[in-house]
């Protein structure tokens, strides 16, 4: 770690994030193996399509637990929009699509990230509920179960597309972002560009954890108010 880096996420946040991300990815891959017969071979890697079914179902249980922690942990920061600055940000699409001289300053998570978070939460809950009903279809009326498959597919359409948006903007689309979810330490320059308001607030409240600065070693990242 270099002197001057700022802690953006704590270890718990990163563990929950990657638990959710990896289980989500396994669910997408195994789900694709069942949705497309041409991708049935994915099951072969797991000892057959029946094993793949079990991998999918039990990963789903893990996903559900992780989703609970995700919601509990990030709802306050990423689940609610703070007006009017979020609206101003949305009007210029955060400066991501066309040139904007001054992107409106927003809190720790910008409305784009909030929209992504809410999509994951909304679709995640749909996937868990519909998935459980699809797991035990004979206990429910066929007319209900039939539409569970539709909702499950709709959730997949959304999550799968959003996954690639997230992948792009978490890596090459916004350089400097990835460390926030790897080591948790980000550069001041990146924070100034991406989350200036949060940086200013934390500095103002004296809660900023800067690597190499004595006074902050005690607090170690638990920047919850």
């Amino acid at each position: 770690m270099r002197k001057g880096l700022i802690q953006a996420t704590d270890a718990f946040e990163r563990i929950v994030h990657w638990s959710l991300a990896i289980s989500c990815l396994i669910l997408c891959i195994t789900g694709l193996g069942m949705m497309f017969q041409s991708l049935n071979f994915i099951g072969t890697l797991m000892g057959g399509l029946k094993s793949l079914k079990y991998v999918h179902n039990f990963t789903g249980v893990f996903f559900a637990v992780t989703l609970y922690f995700t919601i509990r942990m990030w709802w306050r920061e990423a689940g609610v929009f703070s007006m009017p600055e979020d609206l101003e940000w949305m009007k210029v699409a955060g400066g991501y699509v066309w040139h904007v001289d001054k992107v409106p300053e927003v809190g720790k998570y910008n409305p784009g990230q909030k929209a992504f978070f809410l999509a994951v939460v909304g679709c995640g809950v749909i996937m868990v509920v519909t998935g459980l009903i699809m797991w035990f279809p004979l206990r429910f009326p066929a007319g209900l179960v039939r539409w569970m498959f539709v909702l499950h597919a709709l959730g997949f359409v959304t999550i799968f597309a959003f996954f690639f948006v997230h992948l792009y903007l978490g890596t090459i689309g916004s350089p400097g972002s990835l460390p926030a979810m790897l080591s948790g330490w980000v550069s001041r320059a990146w924070l100034k560009k991406q989350h200036p308001k949060w940086l200013a607030e934390m500095e103002h409240e004296g809660k900023l954890v800067v690597y190499g600065e004595e006074k902050d070693l005690t607090g170690h990242g638990h920047h919850t108010a």
């Binding site: 400066g95 690639f164 948006v165 350089p175 400097g176």
Partner: protein, 263 residues
């Protein structure tokens, strides 16, 4: 050469001897379960994983007050546009060369999607093997130019099998002969079933016989719309991200920050 077959069930000739039910169990080596008297000859009460065909007994009184006993042999209808084949994730359910719906049990993963999908409520699940079972119209016998076991056992000629067109003609000829409410059931929906009935009464009279069976709308939305959309949406996002990168460019931190803490 078109090898499509149709099995015709002429309910007007059925005496409910249940020879077909027994022959089906015998040929397919299906065990029987102990049942109890429920006050009906219909036994077992419904299709089971080990009962692929069943004679339904129904007491019917018409408008004139005449009593009539209705017998209907239930089982897989072998749809041309089969919802079960459409939803099966593993290819366990498939269309055979005879136009019927066969099942590769070794491929079945026990997901039960076909049970939910079937408009006739035919497939049944066995928890012990974690697999689905249903009539395969004795595909092994068809391949050996033999009639299915049920057809072979039928003593009254209520069950016959043959080339699709010929059997449909035969069904309509029989309906004409019978007159009244007699009708052909099966050739008009799901692109035509490969098991068709000659019914003495209107279809609505028969228990557990759907009036307008079809591939459920939910399955069409799911398989024909959302399934391709999932790939299109993801592909669109990947293409969009690439275009964003080369046209607009990534969002980079500004170089000249007062503090050289980061990049």
């Amino acid at each position: 050469m078109n090898r499509e077959v149709v099995k015709l069930i002429d309910t007007t000739k059925c005496t409910a001897c249940r020879g077909c039910q027994v022959a089906c169990k015998q040929w397919n080596e299906l065990p029987g379960f102990r049942t109890k008297n429920r006050g009906s000859y219909q036994n077992p009460p419904d299709l089971q994983w080990n009962t692929w065909t069943l004679i339904r007994f129904q007491e019917h009184v018409n408008e004139k007050g005449d009593f009539k006993w209705i017998f209907r042999k239930d089982g897989c209808m072998h749809c041309t546009d089969a919802a079960c084949v459409k939803v099966c994730p593993s290819g366990a359910l498939y269309y055979t060369e005879y136009g019927t719906v066969g099942i590769h049990h070794e491929r079945c993963i026990g997901c039960k999607e076909c049970i939910t999908a079937c408009p006739f409520d035919t497939p049944r699940y066995d928890a012990t093997t974690d697999k689905i079972y249903k009539c395969d119209l004795c595909i092994g016998r068809l391949k050996a130019n033999q009639s299915p076991a049920c057809v072979l056992s039928c003593p009254t000629g209520a069950l016959t099998i043959g080339a699709k067109d010929a059997m449909i003609r035969k069904a309509y000829a029989r309906v004409k002969e019978l007159g009244g409410d007699a009708n052909v059931y099966g050739d008009k929906f799901v692109d035509g079933t490969h098991v068709i009935y000659v019914l003495d009464e209107k279809p609505a009279v028969y228990e557990k016989l759907p009036l307008k069976p079809s591939v459920p709308l939910s399955i069409i939305v799911w398989k024909d719309l959302l399934k391709p959309l999932s790939l299109l949406a993801a592909g669109g996002v990947i293409a969009g991200s690439f275009l964003h990168y080369i046209i607009h460019g990534p969002k980079l931190p500004d170089e000249d920050q007062n503090q050289k803490g980061g990049e």
